[in-house]
Amino acid sequence: MPALTDLSNVRTSVDQANGLPNAHYIDPGVFEEEKHALLFSQWAGLAVGADVPEPGDAKPIEFLGMPLLLLRDKDGQVRVFQNICRHRGMILVEEPRKIEGAIRCPYHSWCYSTKGALVSTPHVGGPGHNTHESIKRDDLGLTEIRSHIWRDVVWINVSGDAPAFEVAMADLIARWREFDLPVYHGGADSRFTLEVKTNWKLAVENYCESYHLPWVHPGLNSYSRLEDHYHIEKPGAYSGQGTMVYRQLTNETGAKFPDFAEVGAKWNEQAEYVAAYPNVLLGVHRDHAFAIILEPKGPERTVEHIHLYYAVPNADGGLRLRNTQLWKTVFEEDIFVVEGMQRGRHATYFDGGRFSPVMDSPTHCFHAWVADRVEAHRAMARAAE
């Protein structure tokens, strides 16, 4: 089968390269291909631990059409399962709720523990006979999806064969080792979602470059000029931007959020914003952090799940509200851009565009990663044929 797109000119140097072809933003076939090449085969962001704060909390989530169950087990460990019974494939949990004891399938009442073990199979051997020699409970637990928690983000590797998370993200973990501290979700006022008519990759691309800041976020110009920013690039893993002039938020009395303890003087006025490939956008500051999970809903639809975190539990509520509003304003200012670029991908003669060799290298870094992963996926598919 011929390749869906020609990526040869995406992988060349930034001064020569074109961006990804239109099909990577609008074509359902390429979206399906990228689902496997970029999302299922990598460590993708699914949710945050704060979505299931207490043992027994369960939240069904559909990820790229796949029904999953985010669950905090009785011992407090966050797990991700396929949200289906091993018997007839019935959906187990329809709405977020607390699992008090076992998860009972609503169809024939097979029951699972919060750790996924199959604990009862009523009438499986006939009425009142709850065992059968062919039904090995140890082999029929819920199918668990490989998951890892870092910075409260629940990362999943659906294919199960990516390198260990600590290996895959080693460079970013090391880069932010000073921030390897507990983070506390600000609660209901510190989460919001934005539904955007764009391909998820355009949200990554816009996030990881500073070139657009003075034009799209003019409010930043008064203190955070373009020249105060620097690029962050780790080919194959992440890219983004940093600033040297982060200014802490204050309220009427001059109060600020408490700092992450011992984070170091380096971060007094420095902050960084990184797109951890594929779909998690992270920001760190001396006194707060955020995580954005990009949920691809289709080639041209994305839901952005934004979560704000602090160094202490119960950070000041008034300041939290201000901070949420501040970031919401910034992220909403980006919507017309990513939606405009999305509509632009329907221009038949668009060639993927050209990059500023100086300003666009974080975006090119992402495109090169996409192209590499898609090419590797295609090579495997060809080998399988």
């Binding site: 008090e100 076992a102 029951c111 604990v119 009862s120 009425p127 006979h129 709850n130």
Partner: protein
């Protein structure tokens, strides 16, 4: 329909797990055959498992004693 049947239907309709455990246990205790008793015990046990109710341990033991549960 017996009072027990009616009570079971009401408990199912309202999703009252505590009542379901009690009612199915009563039905098991009144059953005339071992198979019928184990049928009702199974239901009581499953709802006890779902609820995380303390009765699950005893119901589990009763089913095991009859070779009906693992």
């Amino acid at each position: 329909m017996t009072d027990l049947d009616s009570a079971m239907i009401r408990a199912h309709d309202s999703g009252d797990l505590k009542a379901l455990i009690t009612l199915y246990t009563q039905a098991a205790d009144r059953a005339k055959t071992l198979d019928a008793a184990c049928f009702f015990l199974t239901h009581a046990y499953i709802f006890a498992l779902e609820a995380g109710a303390f009765e699950a341990a005893d119901l589990h033991a009763r089913l095991i004693a009859h070779g009906r549960e693992a």
